[in-house]
Assembly symmetry: C2
Homo-oligomer: 333 residues x 2
Amino acid sequence: MRATVKDVARLAGVSPKTVSNVMNGIVPVSGPTRLRVEQAMAELDYVPNLSARGLRNGRSGVIALALPDLATPFSAEIAHCVVEVAHEQGWSVQIEETGSDPGREYDLMSRARSNLIDGLILNPVVLDESAVKVGVSLPPVVLLGEVSQKLADRVWVDSVAAARDMTLALARTGRRRIAVLGAPGGRGSAAAVLRTRGYQAALEQLGIDFDASLVIPCEKWSPDTAAKALSTYLDSHPLPEALFCFTDSMAIGALSVLWKRGIAVPGDIAVAGFDDIADGQYAVPSLTTVSFDKRKVASEALRLLTERMADRGGPQRVVALDYAVVERDSTSS
Amino acid sequence: MRATVKDVARLAGVSPKTVSNVMNGIVPVSGPTRLRVEQAMAELDYVPNLSARGLRNGRSGVIALALPDLATPFSAEIAHCVVEVAHEQGWSVQIEETGSDPGREYDLMSRARSNLIDGLILNPVVLDESAVKVGVSLPPVVLLGEVSQKLADRVWVDSVAAARDMTLALARTGRRRIAVLGAPGGRGSAAAVLRTRGYQAALEQLGIDFDASLVIPCEKWSPDTAAKALSTYLDSHPLPEALFCFTDSMAIGALSVLWKRGIAVPGDIAVAGFDDIADGQYAVPSLTTVSFDKRKVASEALRLLTERMADRGGPQRVVALDYAVVERDSTSS
DNA sequence: GCTTGCCATTACATCGATGTAATGTGAGTC
DNA sequence: GACTCACATTACATCGATGTAATGGCAAGC
């Protein structure tokens, strides 16, 4: 059986509350007493029971991070950063996946693991598509990414501007027939809509007519679906001069298809992605992409979250992060 | 303020314990009473406080998953599977990263988040290198992967056999000068040692003399370190006929280097990996690798863990998973 | 020497859910 | 109608840590 404050107190010859005082350091404890207590804690290998502490204090020191799919490199990198930053600040992170069951997003937001969790960082997929009942007692929530709803604090990158800049960058390499992969199909996520909008804005700016046949829909943003979508597309369409994939994962799928068909990148077609995942650097050829600081995403999200925990009533805040178009071998050699 | 059993009880006109009985379903509750309680719970949007329940029951319903680095595709895929399988069984998963600080492995094992966590699935990096003080009160632990220590239940793939089979497969394509990337440098992880051993076993079986100059050390198993290690190697050595990388991540880094140098894969050199991460399929060229069922890793680990929770004293068990050499374009076209 | 005041320490209650043991209620039997 | 028996329900204590209010001791001050 694990030692409790009582055991430590008995061994140190003090009261349980004194042990607690030593741990918390708010109430002063005299030198010799503190020493005796610390020795007793060490001797018994005392570890505070966080359930009890959580019950008493009303906070558990755990936050939840909800992502569509942890196996996605982008999600994984975000999760890595969140876990790392959170750990530095003394938080533990519980991971929830929402990908397989969209209802879980609402579930998580409205119930929030019932006090086992002090706050929630949510990278939504569905949430942006329908209204959420803004219950009275939502837990502190920070949303990551493009969300049309204005229901919580948010950290994001300006997808419209970033997609526009990437399209312009592709145009600067002399290509005009620029296709996009990942356009909204049926429902379409907010990010898909926004990135398409940025693409169109760039075309307008360039004086290029929008050509609907250059918009390749791809509902799910994974390499396999992207590969399939592009493959199907190429069977019945001429090769575009450039391909802007709405995520790096899709771009990696696309590169694979192009290579298998003997289409040279960037010789025959330029390819770009979005997100700057680590593998993009080692893609063949290395991938031009929209980059932003994922550690900053994590630290800003955590900052908003802790501030929200301190002040539940404050105004909603949005943090927009810088981004940069990083040109690598997939668009110019 | 969130509703408690007391509130529900008051509204339903029963005692708190009856509400508890309705929730748990062990003690029988009469039909009408149960209905009244359920309505009251719905009306108040009651959610049980898991801290309190955890304190009382001594279990929290949360397990921890400790990985070196969540951003690694392999770790991410494992995490994805564990979270998914755990969720199906009603567990929540807390993620811990051990990469930056090896001491955390011991810390986690010996302290185990102080009752906020019912068990631990640990993918160790350092643990296999030194003895662990087998404390009296370790929490239920399951280790993932190659570990020399016999200190806990374990799920693994036979690295020696798998590396041997991969080496044999490479030899079957007619290559004799087979190099390995990821060999143990200074300390060297257990997996590195075992995979090297499998490689040597294959050479012996093939009647090929072991050539130390074909062993390329690479301490950290990431694309960037692999790329650097291979690059340096190629500057001062002739090109091998095949390159067996001890992880897919390293292989992806290697492919990138080879492509940049204009070395054709598999024309000039065959490349293989280990782990079968999703991106390997979309590598250019697609990557030959050692594959195993990661979902099964997760489900077996969770099975061992829950069984261990039920019976702390039972004998230590090891589950060895099947693997398969999957040949793709990087070794033959 | 006795009080005043301060500060370390203590006893007790509390957070919310639930096991235990006791109570209450009803039907069923003679 | 009194009694047993079974079963639903209740009061109370408990898990471990900690805030609150009260207690204790010690030194300074007259």
